[in-house]
């Protein structure tokens, strides 16, 4: 069972626990299978290069799903992911770390529900934020 | 191989593993999984895609292409991450001194048509061990999986997989 984070313990500016990913070529094929996106730039190097890319690239939607996992793992059993999204601003390669991060931007209570807004993003080893986005989750209150 | 090493032989201990049944594992046949397998083999036969069409032909639902007997339930840590098959505690255990491995063959025996919606219970056992002696000995290991329909308890298929270790 995961540790439960409560609304009262969360403050603007807090960074949530990071999630580190590193996609093997196999993971990209697993994602193709799971998502139904069989575009060859994600597993066929020759095809990728013929389209002008340096090599294989990680699916944008997979990075989006990584950000969802970052949130899901943080909010625990008592929380709910209400909204998450990102833009695709840079490419990630298989075999390279993708660091998923999030920072709290706002906390508020509406209709008895405790909301937390966050900035979320994936980050390359060179520091480039390749998938910046935002999210909203609800958290349980103490008591 | 060094001369001092005695030639590999199938021992009685290895033979004693034949027939020991593994714990069961659940395999699911779903509309989505049948369609994906059919796409994977390049078939466009509507019997594998269109539920209404398959029912008109007298089947319960879309028909699993031959060779597909469902997807094992995948639980992290319990299945092989590459092949998906369950890693089971019980069942045969063999110490094989060979590093090389080849897929030798596949054989499926059907007792019923497998359709989407079927939930199967699979058990496996070591069915056969054969040694082909020579300069480079080859060990043929045949495992048999038996698939039962969970709802009726009826055996619907048996599949034998032969691996060649050399």
């Amino acid at each position: 069972m995961t540790h439960q984070v409560f609304f009262e313990d969360v403050h603007e500016g807090d960074e949530i626990p990071q999630l580190r990913k590193n996609c093997s070529t196999q993971q990209l094929v697993l994602w193709a299978a799971a998502s139904g996106d069989f575009y060859q730039i994600h597993y066929d190097k020759d095809f990728a290069q013929a389209t002008g890319l340096k090599g294989l690239i990680v699916h944008g939607a997979l990075k989006n799903a990584f950000l969802a996992q970052l949130l899901h793992d943080w909010i625990g059993e008592g929380g709910q992911v209400r909204r998450f999204g990102c833009s695709y601003r840079g490419m990630d390669e298989p075999g390279q770390d993708i660091l998923c991060r999030g920072v709290v931007t706002k906390t508020y209570t509406r209709d008895g529900k405790h909301y937390v807004d966050l900035d979320v993003w994936t980050e390359r080893p060179d520091g480039k934020r390749t998938s910046p986005g935002t999210a909203t989750v609800t958290l349980p209150g103490r008591g | 191989m060094p001369d001092t090493e005695t030639a590999f032989q199938i021992t009685d201990e290895m033979r004693a593993q034949i027939g020991i049944e593994s714990e069961p594992w659940t395999y699911e046949v779903t509309t989505t999984s049948v369609r994906m397998y059919a796409r994977g083999i390049g078939s466009e036969d509507p019997i594998h895609y269109d539920v209404d069409f398959a029912k008109q032909q007298g089947f319960r639902s879309i028909v699993a292409p031959l060779g597909y007997i469902g997807t094992p339930v995948y639980l992290p840590g319990s299945n092989d991450p590459t092949f998906g098959f369950p890693r089971r505690a019980s069942g045969p255990h063999l110490n094989i001194p060979f590093k090389g491995l080849l897929d030798g063959g596949t054989e499926t025996e059907y007792f019923d048509v497998i359709c989407a919606g079927d939930v199967l219970e699979e058990t496996s056992h070591l069915a056969d061990l054969k040694l082909r002696e020579g300069a480079r000995p080859m060990l043929f290991i045949t495992n048999e999986s038996v698939y039962k329909d969970k709802a009726t308890g009826k055996v619907v298929a048996k599949q034998r997989l032969t691996s060649i270790h050399m």
Partner: protein, 164 residues
């Protein structure tokens, strides 16, 4: 300031804004929830194990975030691009980028679980033109609404496509 490129948004395209596309059926099953969770690397067993999901109060295995089922595949139907792609208009740009994706969940209407059948309906919410470092660009924003078998809207997705 350089003269702006002529607009590529036609009346035909404007007429499509806000119009629902054809409904798409998505199936949520235990097996495809597990496959999605496995591909992402989720560790929470509510995405894999029915007993674990039930113990947490769900009907069955929970669809991982970002997963709303697998579209029913029809062989021979037009190439299965992104839902609603290439619908009845063309623009003079050859390059396409996926600009971003955002999912909004409405869990009070129902949490998506294995066994659900989801109907997805997509519509274009806007066309916008900008001039970027890549030259003139058309930004198409599309919204998809996901409705479950009980008629409840359980999620929405907004996607951005950039053509230049």
């Amino acid at each position: 300031m350089a003269q702006a490129a002529p607009s590529v948004i036609t009346d035909e395209m404007r007429a499509l804004v806000g119009v629902d596309g054809p409904p798409l059926t998505l199936e949520v099953e235990k097996a495809n929830c597990r496959m999605f969770a496995r591909a992402v690397g989720h560790t929470d067993r509510i995405f894999y194990d029915e007993d674990a999901a039930r113990a947490r109060g769900y009907r069955s295995i929970v669809a991982p975030p970002g997963f709303l089922g697998t579209p029913v595949f029809h062989p021979g139907a037009a190439a299965q691009g992104p839902p609603g792609a290439g619908r009845g208009y063309s623009v003079p740009y050859r390059r396409v980028l996926n600009g971003g994706t955002e999912y909004e969940y409405l869990p009070e209407n129902g949490v998506v679980c294995a066994g659900d059948t989801i109907t997805a309906v997509s519509r274009i919410s806007s066309f916008e033109e900008t001039e970027g470092s890549l030259g003139p660009m058309l930004i198409t924003t599309r919204e998809t609404t996901y409705t479950n078998q009980h008629g409840a809207v359980v999620a929405k997705m907004r996607g951005t496509m950039i053509q230049y």
